[in-house]
Each structure stands twice: as structure tokens, then as C-alpha cells.
């Protein structure tokens, strides 16, 4: 470094001294900056040469034949600079210097393009040049340098499921089963648009898979915002109907034919065909997971956590370095992997991890079964099968399964919450387990405290609330002991490793991460979600199951909108709630019973009693 400084100073001084004479001679004047750049380039070349010599020496010492580079550092840099993607990127991100190094393992030149001051340099782009023929092997720009998942590697998440030959048929089956295609006029409905909106995440996903996250990220917000708006709209519409407003618009004959309170089914398939489709879908999903999938860090985290628990250690603060931030989930997430880890033990490395495959398949099956039971109870066998197919055919649930992530566990909690909606303790237990798995459902705590059955006995409100809290406490007791395995250290680590880590997380997979200047909007939106999460304690005044599910979905979507790191694996979180709202043909909500009008009574005691009632 001292030598480099000396050379730069000498060259700069020479340039300054020589400048007037050169100008007089009619020659181009070299500015100090240009001189510095030239010297910097030379020095980089010398450094690269030294690195190559060192690599050769190491190879000789290891008894290997030293690799003789075909290209020089300068040639590799020149070839890299010619790449159009790089040119486009550095046009907006000025580069201060470049660095190149020959990678011994694959004989590729890694040419780095660096910006920023020396104390805070940022690698803006990396270009990999094949030494043998000078072709460009890979170009990484912006977030792709630091984030492997932004590079669009083929099947990085879930491998085979990303094949369009799988994805498109799944989308088609999803629509074919859920839309009333035998009644074309009925297809012109909000439901059709809702289902298309759910599938439209695929457009963003396609860009993501091609490594274009500056297109994929904005696109992911369109369906999120649409679905949020729809859930709010459905809630308001039903609240208005309950108050009696808007009933005039409903034709009288529609009211007279409305005999059943059970939801109808828009689908057209007979039961045997629904069963067949479901079996085929399950064979496809689970087969893909078994034979053509991978385990992302989430599944890896679950297996390591289960291994730690098995060895009597709390996962929090005790993860190995290669998965240092993997203790960011709730304790249930690690507990559910334990039986699978016992059957297929962890070998201390990120291999096939069969335990993660088993656990992910269980989460998927739980979510599917929960939806089937919920549908069956709400509208009969065919609705149950239809909801199960909706889950199985929705490509992002298959994406989650094939990535062997834990996100279907949240979906399972939502689905079983719907099944147990009428039982406050069951509701509390399900939500508590969901929170113990991934914290996220905490946004639903106030909403799920409400009993979503407007005709229920209003006197039992306190009893139901206590049962609900009891359910939450049971869930905490069932899973919270994991924090105490190492005494109190796990408890202190828990907060910083979970909420603390997630709150301070930086990521390019949201508009908040890509545009930090939107910070105020971000904070305002977070505030809005918190307020909405609390407001549902009082509004709507009397809530039914459809509103309950719709508000739940809206809150989860709202929460996802505020996330700095959003990913397609989070879509299944709200999917069960949206499916229950959107798929069945719900009967219009009856007007809430109006209390009988009390005749004017001068007796103040009677008036007080009436007000209390």
C-alpha cells in the first residue's frame, strides 16, 4: 500500500509538472484523476498477476498442475466491460474502480465493478468471464451480487415445480375446478377476477425466476393490493347488509328462494372427478417434492433446530455458522421437525435433508386436510373436495412444498382455525400454535378473540373470551418450554433472534428495500395495519364467518405489504382464508335481528335495564 501511494504521488506530481509543456506542444493534458485511474488499473493488473503467481505456487505445493491462464486480467476486464447488462447497470451506478481475480476452481475470471468511497465501497456488479474462450459466463448486477436468490438460478426454489409444464397445468386445473365453466354467464363475476388475481402472482414469479427483481417486486404488489381491497370490500358489503342497508336492491324473488344458509358451489365437476383430480394433484405435488425438489434454508433451519432440541439445547443463539440467522422462527417450527429428524437424523451438513421433506409434506397435508374439513362442514363433501383441490392446484402452494419451507404450517393454522372457529379454545389454540411457529399470525390475535357467529348467545361473550385466552396460553405452554432448555439465555436470545432480526432485516425483495426513501410511507403503513388489527375488536359490530375470514386475510396481506423481505412462499399464509371467502357461493347475509322496540316508559329503572340489554 505504501508503494502504491508513493507511485500515485509521483505520477500525479509528474503530471502536474509536465502539463504546461504538454499543452504548449499541442498534446492532450492528462488530469490527475485520469492519471490515478491509469495507475490504479496498472496496479490492479500487478495485483492480479501476483495473485495468479501465488495460486500457481499453492497448486505446486499441493502437487497439482498449475493452471496457466489464457487471458490476462486486463483482457478479462475489457471483455467484461463489453457486456450490455453491465453497461446498462453502470450507466446509473458510476464505478470508481474494477478488480479481477482468476478463480481456481472453475477457471473463470471474476471482474468486480466497485463504487463508493474507499471506506464504504459497494460492489455494483460482477462479471464472470471464462478463461478458456473469453465468453461471459454470468453477470450479476445490483442486489444479485449479494443475494443469490436474486440471480434467477434455474429452479433455485423448488426445482421441478418451476417448470412451465408443471406450473401452467396447475393454473389451468385451479381455474377449471373453481370456475363455473358450464355456466359462462356466471363466469363474469368478481370470483373469476379474484381467482385470476391469485394466479397473477405468477407474472411476478416469472420475472423473479429470470433474475429481474426490479420488475418482479413491483408486480407482486398488484395482486396483494387487489386482494386486500376485495377482502375489505366483502367485509363492508356484508356489514352493510347486516345493518339492513342495500337490501332494497335485492330482488324479492331472490329473497324468497334463499332457503339455505349453507354456501353453494360454483364448480361443475361430479364428486368422482373431484376425487380423481385431487388424487392426481397430490401424486404430482408429493412426487415432485420427493424426486425433484430442494430444501431451502428454512427447512435446513427446522432440521438443525430439531437436532438441537433432541440434544437438550435451545435453538436460539446456538445455530451453526452456516445457518447463523436460522433461529428466527418460533419454537413450534423446530418442534414439529423432531419426529422427522429422529426418523432421518441430521448429518451435520446441508444434504438432501429427508427430514425437511417429510415435515414439509406434513404441513402441506395438514393445510389441505384443514381446508377439506372446513369446506365439508360449511357446505358439504363437494365443497370440501373443491377447497382441497384449490389448495393442491394453486401453484404457489406447490412452490412452497417443493422448497420444503415451513410456510404451509401457517396456512394449516389458518385452515384449522376455520374448522374450529365456533370453539373459542380451539381458535385460541390454533392461533397460538401458528404464532409459536412463525410469529406472523400475531396480527390476528384481536380478530380471533371475536366469535364469528352473529346469532350466538351474547351473554357468553366473557366465557368465550376466557376460553380463547386459555387456548393461547395452552399453545404457549406446549411450545414455550423450548426457550428454557438452556436456562434463561434462550429467552433473552429469543426476542433478538426473532422479532429483533426480522425488524432490522434488509432485503431487495420489497419496494421498501429497493426504495429506502419510502421509509415514511412504510412506517405509516405499518401503523395503519396495527390500527386495523386493533379496530377489528369493535368493527364490524356483529361479525360472521365470511367477514372473519376476509378480515383475517386482509390483515395478513396488510402485514405482508409492510414486510421488508417478501417472498412468494408467504402467499399460502392467507390462501385458506381467501379461498373460504371467494370459492363458495355464500348466501347474502341476513339482516341482524333488531331488538324489539321498547314502548316509552317513564320508569327510570326500566329505562336503565333496557339500555344495559
Amino acid at each position: 500500500m505504501r508503494l502504491r501511494g508513493l507511485v500515485i504521488t509521483l505520477v500525479a506530481a509528474l503530471a502536474l509538472v509536465a502539463a504546461p509543456s504538454l499543452n504548449a506542444a499541442g498534446l492532450t493534458i492528462t488530469t490527475p484523476a485520469e492519471a490515478l485511474a491509469a495507475v490504479s488499473g496498472e496496479l490492479n493488473g500487478i495485483a492480479a498477476g501476483a495473485a495468479a503467481l501465488q495460486a500457481q505456487a499453492s497448486a505446486r505445493a499441493a502437487g497439482k498442475t498449475p493452471y496457466s491462464a489464457t487471458l490476462s486480467s486486463e483482457e478479462a476486464t475489457t471483455l467484461a466491460k463489453a457486456d450490455q447488462r453491465l453497461k446498462d447497470w453502470i450507466a446509473d451506478h458510476p464505478i470508481h474502480r474494477t478488480a479481477s481475480e482468476l478463480q481456481d476452481k472453475d477457471h473463470r475470471w471474476k471482474v468486480s465493478f466497485i463504487s463508493g468511497p474507499k471506506t464504504a465501497e459497494v460492489v455494483e456488479a460482477e462479471v464472470y468471464v471464462r478463461d478458456e474462450d473469453g465468453s461471459i459466463a454470468e453477470v450479476r448486477v445490483g442486489p444479485q451480487v449479494a443475494w443469490m436468490m436474486a440471480r434467477g438460478y434455474d429452479g433455485a426454489f423448488g426445482r421441478g415445480v418451476n417448470n412451465l409444464r408443471v406450473w401452467i397445468p396447475l393454473c389451468l386445473v385451479f381455474l377449471l375446478v373453481l370456475l363455473p365453466i358450464t355456466r359462462p354467464r356466471s363466469m363474469r363475476s368478481w370470483r373469476t377476477l379474484d381467482l385470476l388475481a391469485l394466479l397473477s402472482f405468477s407474472i411476478s414469479w416469472w420475472y423473479f425466476n429470470n433474475g429481474d427483481i426490479f420488475t418482479s417486486v413491483p408486480l407482486q404488489y398488484l395482486p396483494l393490493i387487489y386482494l386486500l381491497a376485495r377482502m375489505v370490500f366483502i367485509t363492508v358489503q356484508r356489514a352493510r347488509a347486516a345493518k339492513g342497508r342495500g337490501r332494497e336492491a335485492e330482488p324479492a324473488d331472490a329473497r324468497s328462494t334463499r332457503t339455505s344458509r349453507r354456501p353453494g358451489l360454483p364448480g361443475w365437476m361430479p364428486t368422482w372427478l373431484l376425487v380423481t383430480v385431487l388424487v392426481v394433484l397430490l401424486a404430482l405435488r408429493w412426487g415432485l417434492n420427493a424426486f425433484d425438489s430442494n430444501v431451502i434454508d428454512v427447512g435446513y433451519a427446522g432440521v438443525i433446530g430439531a437436532d438441537l432440541i433432541q440434544h437438550g439445547t435451545t435453538p436460539y443463539g446456538n445455530f451453526p455458522k452456516d445457518c447463523g440467522q436460522c433461529d428466527t422462527y418460533g419454537p413450534l417450527n423446530y418442534l414439529v421437525y423432531v419426529p422427522f429428524e429422529v426418523a432421518e437424523p441430521f448429518h451435520g451438513k446441508w444434504d438432501d435433508l429427508p427430514a425437511a421433506h417429510g415435515a414439509a409434506t406434513l404441513f402441506d397435508a395438514l393445510a389441505l386436510l384443514g381446508l377439506m374439513v372446513a369446506g365439508w362442514r360449511l357446505g358439504g363433501r363437494r365443497l370440501g373436495l373443491t377447497l382441497a383441490i384449490a389448495w393442491a392446484a394453486f401453484p404457489f402452494t406447490a412452490f412452497t412444498l417443493s422448497s420444503n419451507s415451513n410456510d404451509a404450517l401457517i396456512a394449516a393454522a389458518m385452515a384449522w382455525g376455520l374448522v374450529l372457529a365456533a370453539r373459542p379454545m380451539g381458535r385460541g389454540l390454533t392461533l397460538g400454535l401458528g404464532i409459536a411457529a412463525k410469529i406472523v399470525p400475531v396480527v390476528l390475535v384481536p380478530l380471533w378473540a371475536r366469535h364469528p357467529f352473529p346469532r350466538a348467545d351474547p351473554q357468553g361473550g366473557r366465557r368465550r373470551l376466557m376460553a380463547y385466552i386459555g387456548g393461547l396460553v395452552i399453545a404457549a405452554l406446549l411450545t414455550g418450554w423450548v426457550l428454557f432448555l438452556d436456562g434463561l439465555s434462550g429467552v433473552t436470545a429469543f426476542w433478538s433472534r426473532t422479532v429483533g432480526y426480522q425488524a432490522g432485516r434488509d432485503s431487495p425483495f420489497s419496494i421498501w428495500g429497493q426504495h429506502p426513501d419510502l421509509g415514511y410511507v412504510h412506517i405509516a403503513l405499518m401503523g395503519l395495519v396495527i390500527v386495523a388489527g386493533l379496530a377489528v375488536l369493535r368493527w364490524p359490530r356483529r361479525i360472521d364467518l365470511v367477514q372473519w375470514a376476509a378480515i383475517g386475510a386482509a390483515l395478513l396481506i396488510g402485514f405482508e405489504l409492510t414486510l421488508t423481505h417478501w417472498f412468494y412462499l408467504y402467499i399460502p399464509w392467507f390462501l385458506p382464508l381467501i379461498l373460504v371467502v371467494v370459492v363458495p357461493e355464500w348466501p347474502r347475509r341476513e339482516r341482524d335481528p333488531i331488538p324489539p322496540r321498547t314502548p316509552p316508559n317513564p320508569d327510570p329503572d326500566t329505562q336503565r335495564e333496557a339500555a344495559t340489554a
Partner: protein, 409 residues
């Protein structure tokens, strides 16, 4: 239909089978290269003619009844292959007669009887020349005659035929629950015990001496089948192939156990699952039959029994870990005799399954081994048709209703 034609229908259909066998089938044998099992059978005969005892002195993958067939083939005059083919011709004719008689006993119309018998008579053409070089037609004949015996209420005879079928090939063991249920429904448990006792005695007379003299050889036969990997043409393999076509799932083929199979943990797991599915299917068929027999009139039990046997046969193919093309001939006698609207569809799908099988075997077999997409697609289609066929043949209320209508007509 002409009454004389109707009266002699089994004969005319036997003649049709004979003409098919000596005409187009021989032309096919001469012009289409085949993969033959006859050398394997002849090697067994050669061992036995040299005084060696199967299972003890040389391994044999088949049950003892098959060894008896190979020995008879060798003892009879003529070249081994020709004699074997002639015996299979007799088996075909026997199947045609049994199917036609059973169709008549079930009350099917003459045209329907003719269709059922004709499909059996033409099956060598539909499936290909491979039937002359495998002994599966013998099993088909035994299944057909067992069904005839049950439909005509000759229950002891049915059990005896079942015993012979078990000795020829182990798979008819799967028919025991169905036969037990229908026999119990008609005559009660004492009769079942007597007839099933005959069956057990016949099997024991042959098998027990062999177990005593060659326990390792007998166990070797069983373990041979247990150890076999998932065979290339099985439904499980077709499932893995569909994952390969759709998503590029990795797959490899290896030659072992005299055929081509899929090695590795994944296919092994699929083989295990398919075996579990097979057990569940056999139990489900038996349960369905039992429930239907309890609520259906007695005249419907024959039709339900035939449907149950047909479904069990197809389940053995669909959920078995080995599905050689010649196995398809087992399903024909049952599938063509299923009554009702679904039965007519079953005849069509059976024919389609045979033709689709011929589309890849033998001409495209080695391309299938090389995992070429068109051949894999054909195999997936064939196995899909078998699943549809199983659903069509499944014993259901409509079968009983159709049987009642036939009886009243």
C-alpha cells in the same frame, strides 16, 4: 341373432380364435421381432429332464404348477416352442368357451356374449404375438373357468380351479377374499370351510413336500419376487416417468431379475407404496362386494362377483410393482363380462389398453428402456387406461341393477 348361431356361439368363437392363431398371428410372428420367454421355460425342462428337481437343484422363479407345464411341454412330441404355443392356443380356446358360457349364464344378450368372446378370441392380435411365448393364457383360462364355476354355482369346483391357478402363478391368491365372501353369501361358512379346505389341500399337497425337501429354494422364489425392483412398465414407473416428462425428475434404468427396472431409493419407495396400495385395493374391493351383497338380491351376486374379480385382476396390474405386457391377458375375461353401462365401456377400454400396449411393445421397448419421451408417453397412457378400467369395473350398485334387469328379461 340366428338361434343356431347363438347355440353354437362358443364353437364359432373358438374357430375364430383358431383362425386368428394360425393366420394373422403366425404372420405377425414371422414379421415382427419378439422378445421370447420360451428359452427360459425350455431351460427349466432341460434341468428337469436331466433328473434335477426344481427349487432344490436349480432356482425357479415360478410356482410349481408352471414347472409342471414346462415339463408337459417338453414331454409332448414336437419342438418345445411349437408345443408350448399349441398349448397356449388350447388355453385361448378354453378361455373363449368359458367367457361365452359365463356371459350366457349371466343373462347377457347374444350379441353381448359374442362381443365378450370375440374380444378374447382376438386378444392375441390386439396384444401381439407375445402370448404364444408366455404362459399367461393358461392363467386367463383358469380365471375364466373359475368365474364360470361361481356363476353356475359350482363352488367347490371354483376353489379347486383357484388352487390350480395359485400353483401356476401366485397372483390368484388375491381372489381368495372375493371368493370367500360370495361363497359365504350363498351357502354359509360350513360350505366355505369345506371348499376352501379342498383348495388348501391341493396347494399343500404340491407345496409342502417342496418346502420340506427344498426350503431354501422355495424361499428363494419368494424372495426373488420381494427383491425385484420397480419394473419399467409398472404404474409406479409410469408415475415417475410422468414426473420426468413434466419436471425433468432424474430417472435411471437397470437390467436385473430378467427384466428392466428402476434402481434407487425413490423407485424403491414407490414400489413399497404401490404394494401398500395393492393391499388396500384388495381389501376395499372385498369390503365393497360384501356391502353390496348384503343389500342386493341373490340374482345379482354373480354379476357383482365377476366385477370384483375383474377389478382385483386390474388392481394386481395397476398396483403391482411388475407389469409385463402379457399380464394384460389376465384382465380380459373379467373386464368383458362386467354387466351394465360401465361394462360396455370396460370392453372398449380393455381393447384400447391392449392396442396401446402393442404400440410400444415389442417395437418400441428398447426406446422405452432408453427413456425416450414418446414411448414413455404411450406407457403412461396405457397405465392411465388401466386405472380408468379399474374404476369402470369396480363393483357398484349399477352392476347389481343391471344384473336384476338381465334376470327379469
Amino acid at each position: 341373432m340366428n338361434p343356431r348361431l347363438e347355440k353354437w356361439l362358443p364353437l364359432w368363437l373358438s374357430v375364430l380364435a383358431l383362425l386368428v392363431w394360425i393366420g394373422p398371428l403366425q404372420w405377425m410372428a414371422a414379421h415382427v421381432s419378439q422378445i421370447s420367454d420360451v428359452p427360459v421355460y425350455q431351460a427349466v425342462y432341460d434341468h428337469m429332464s436331466a433328473g434335477e428337481m426344481p427349487y432344490r437343484d436349480f432356482p425357479l422363479e415360478y410356482p410349481p404348477g408352471a414347472a409342471v407345464l414346462f415339463w408337459i411341454t417338453g414331454v409332448l412330441p414336437g419342438a418345445f416352442g411349437t408345443t408350448f404355443a399349441t398349448l397356449m392356443l388350447f388355453s385361448l380356446i378354453a378361455t373363449v368357451i368359458a367367457v361365452t358360457l359365463t356371459a350366457k349364464a349371466l343373462g347377457m344378450s347374444p350379441w353381448r356374449q359374442m362381443a365378450a368372446g370375440a374380444v378374447v378370441a382376438l386378444s392375441p392380435l390386439l396384444l401381439g404375438d407375445l402370448l404364444t411365448t408366455r404362459f399367461d393364457l393358461l392363467l386367463a383360462a383358469l380365471i375364466a373357468w373359475m368365474m364360470w364355476a361361481v356363476v353356475t354355482d359350482r363352488m367347490t369346483m371354483a376353489w379347486v380351479i383357484l388352487a390350480v391357478a395359485i400353483l401356476v402363478k401366485l397372483v390368484p391368491l388375491a381372489f381368495i377374499p372375493v371368493l370367500l365372501i360370495v361363497h359365504w353369501r350363498r351357502h354359509g361358512w360350513p360350505s366355505v370351510a369345506r371348499a376352501a379346505g379342498w383348495c388348501a389341500a391341493i396347494v399343500a399337497v404340491v407345496v409342502v413336500p417342496l418346502i420340506i425337501t427344498a426350503p431354501h429354494g422355495m424361499w428363494g422364489t419368494i424372495s426373488y419376487h420381494l427383491d425385484r425392483p420397480l419394473q419399467l412398465e409398472s404404474t409406479g414407473a409410469a408415475y415417475l416417468m410422468s414426473l420426468r416428462i413434466l419436471a425433468g425428475a432424474p430417472l435411471a434404468v437397470e437390467s436385473s431379475f430378467g427384466s428392466q427396472g428402476l434402481p434407487g431409493d425413490g423407485p424403491q419407495f414407490v414400489a413399497l407404496i404401490s404394494t401398500v396400495v395393492l393391499v388396500v385395493l384388495i381389501a376395499a374391493i372385498a369390503y365393497t362386494l360384501w356391502r353390496l351383497l348384503l343389500t342386493s338380491p341373490a340374482m345379482a351376486d354373480s354379476a357383482l362377483f365377476v366385477a370384483a374379480i375383474a377389478t382385483t385382476c386390474i388392481a394386481l396390474l395397476v398396483a403391482g410393482k411388475v407389469l409385463s405386457p402379457q399380464f394384460l391377458v389376465w384382465i380380459i375375461p373379467g373386464a368383458v363380462l362386467v354387466t351394465g353401462r360401465m361394462g360396455r365401456w370396460a370392453v372398449g377400454i380393455s381393447v384400447a389398453a391392449l392396442l396401446v400396449t402393442q404400440a410400444y411393445f415389442p417395437a418400441g421397448y428398447w426406446q422405452l428402456v432408453a427413456l425416450q419421451t414418446p414411448q414413455m408417453g404411450i406407457l403412461i397412457l396405457r397405465d392411465g387406461l388401466l386405472i380408468v378400467l379399474m374404476a369402470l369395473c369396480w363393483p357398484r350398485r349399477a352392476v347389481a341393477t343391471a344384473a336384476e334387469e338381465l334376470s327379469s328379461a
